[in-house]
Symmetry: C2
Subunit: 205 residues, 2 copies
Amino acid sequence: MDFNEKQIDILLAAERLFATKGFDGTSVRDIAHEANVNVAMINYYFGSKDKLLDTFFEWRVPDFMINVDELALIENALDKIDAMVDRSIKSMNSHRKLYHIITIESSLKQRMLVSAAFRKLKLHNLEVISSVINEGVAQGVFKGGNDPILIHSMMMGTFMNFQMNYSFLQEQLRIASDTEYARYIETTLTQFIQKTIKALLTYEK
Amino acid sequence: MDFNEKQIDILLAAERLFATKGFDGTSVRDIAHEANVNVAMINYYFGSKDKLLDTFFEWRVPDFMINVDELALIENALDKIDAMVDRSIKSMNSHRKLYHIITIESSLKQRMLVSAAFRKLKLHNLEVISSVINEGVAQGVFKGGNDPILIHSMMMGTFMNFQMNYSFLQEQLRIASDTEYARYIETTLTQFIQKTIKALLTYEK
DNA sequence: GTTTAAATTAAACGTTTGTTTAACTTTGTC
DNA sequence: GACAAAGTTAAACAAACGTTTAATTTAAAC
């Protein structure tokens, strides 16, 4: 999957506009204008607006996959949790606007290609977190009886909530800039999720 | 705010369609057809499509407010957490499709009226959870140093994640019907969030 | 330098969008 | 039963939508 300069202009323009106005709220003319290309170029290169979204997501999806090899090097189960959360949040946060619109689009309609690719991504990440937890349980570090699906949902949902309610949370947390908000997510929020998972996995009752 | 039969037909039709196709993805003709009314009736009664969404949300927003009086009767801090989570999830779950589209819409653009009402709602619920936690800390039941904003985000985000990825989660949890899924949210998911919050608030490190 | 394919353009395509109009029917009031 | 207001309708509105066309320019190959 390699694109020429103009195609990348279009993909990046689409990313910016989808993130602020959503898929349906963005017209191909908006994208063409933002990318400084003729309207017809979008259909010429990508076929259709729907296929542009599909292509776009497939272009980005590898960035969201949790790197298993990296985790394999870590022995301590608690450290593994920390690392996994850290990498997950960092990758989602670096393309958080894309993650935002993909979540919205695949939740609204079953756009086949996007939803299928998104499903594979979630499945991969779910399997990673499952194996990390199971390993910790086997080592006797973690208590059993916790469904990885719920922990995965908690992590993803808490992060997504920071995406979807960002203006409310910026206000509440008294954060002025977007960059400071991004930093907050990669420090305080990350630590919170790490702490939450570890608290859960070692909780008595 | 009282509506006649036909207006309620329109509001309910809009709720169904917005939930499945989103706001931008739903046309006024779709709504008119679903509600078995003429297209012009929507503008006649609500002014515009945007105002319909505003009116719609203001119509439903009281259902999402956590009832403070109910919580005041409970003395034990842990029980109070349980009750608060239970009521929050139940109210969101009973109108979960609406909550879904409101979150999406207010995250995409600053629809003034909707966002303002939604902001007030979140502020109210955040204050409730803050006071419950602070009370528990004052009683010595909870450890201090936990930001209520993060706990609130975790609860809302985890629930919302079950809304936005429901087809993926239905598959993973091997749940066949929507009603069974709703029941899962009100039992297993609710217990998970309750446990998570209590684990956090009593966690050592 | 000619030929062929790819890239790019402005214009037009047919639909669909939200909204308004103007005619008509129903309902309630005196 | 006449009158006014409210409710309801089919039709039309202009604007925006995604997409396609046909003409033109650019680039590459021989």
